[in-house]
Symmetry: C2
Subunit: 189 residues, 2 copies
DNA sequence: CGAGGCCTTGACCGCGGTCAATGCCCGTGG
DNA sequence: CCACGGGCATTGACCGCGGTCAAGGCCTCG
């Protein structure tokens, strides 16, 4: 149950088994269904999630009702509505499992306790933030000033299995194009 | 010379004067001209910058020669080509001062030394990362699925002095529209 | 005083969005 | 097990936003 999570830490920092046990002990397993919402826009986010199996999607819906997806967390990745978790203000994004999934969940309090008391945990959190920040930057640069075809090619390069894994509709909302356009582009290869 | 920087730390964490002195002692002042480049695409980034006066711009130029600006750091803000600084791989972005500026600069080695040895510094760095990550997210959500007029309104809301401070061309490259379009929109108020 | 860069504005047009019709897949209930 | 229904993918027709290109004027700096 905790293998993937332990592996996650072991591959990112030097850590002994007791410390690892202490960390993973704060996580509890939850099972979710396809398209289950874990957090709605406007809620206060209370948990950080680690994906053991399945896939987590972070997205928003604007006032015109248009969905925009920011991030997919697949197996072995962390994900949550970070701004809300950090500041404890109403979330901007929805958190959803798009497939039947198994998640390891840790409460906000436990999480930041670990950050403050376990140096290895703080270090891994720092890595998560650095990586998240870098990923977001790449996305800004990768999408701005590119037309639809180039954006599709971009994901095919950087996240090859992405288009296979998620529905056309969700992929389109991630790319900032319409499902129609994505469909047309894919048919041209 | 170090007032703004000391203020930056004091407003973000509890810190005594000796520790503060220790930290700021690693920063050296540099003065730059309008449009001076501090880092070119492909260089390895060696410094973190704190803006005492002026303005730092982070941008890239893609293969078609189109500029995309990701971030402006004004007085009292940190900025650098973070992916390159962290991983010591060739930078994707240029770092430039768009006005005559005064910057406080710290080397990568000193910076990460402080992160590892001074808990208050680590904490502030964590805040920088969290904030940067949140800002990037807001930008993704704020720009995706919005047309040109809405994007302009968005910056006017969230960064009111932005359009007054930077040139039309740079503002446009930040918004992902052409200077022509920005000009047309501004004339319509 | 001349040159270069930027802003503004006009004319044109192509990418990609909207809307709608059709067909497929899959889950649900009779 | 099959029939039905809803959601999604695909495709066509249309058209509007905003990009490109070019011209003209202004400001700055050498």
């Amino acid at each position: 149950m905790y293998e993937k999570l332990e592996q996650y830490f072991k591959s990112r920092t030097i850590i002994d088994q007791p410390t690892l046990d202490h960390i993973v002990g704060h996580f509890t397993l939850i099972k979710t269904k396809r398209n289950e919402l874990l957090l709605k826009q406007g809620d206060i986010c209370k948990h950080y999630y680690f994906v053991n199996k399945g896939c987590l999607r972070l997205f928003t819906i604007n006032k015109e009702g248009v969905e925009t997806t920011r991030y997919f967390a697949f197996e072995g990745a962390f994900g949550t509505a970070l701004p809300s978790l950090i500041t404890q203000t109403p979330a901007f994004e929805f958190v959803q499992t798009i497939e039947k999934s198994e998640l390891l969940r840790i409460s906000r309090d436990s999480f930041f306790n670990l950050v403050d008391t376990v140096p290895q945990f703080a270090r891994v959190y720092r890595q998560i933030l650095e990586l998240g920040f870098i990923t977001a930057q790449k996305r800004i640069y990768g999408f701005q000033g590119f037309d639809a075809i180039e954006k599709v090619k971009w994901v095919m390069n950087y996240q090859p299995d992405f288009l296979l894994r998620v529905s056309n509709k969700m992929a389109a909302s991630y790319l900032g194009i319409t499902p129609s356009t994505l469909s047309r582009i894919k048919s041209k290869l």
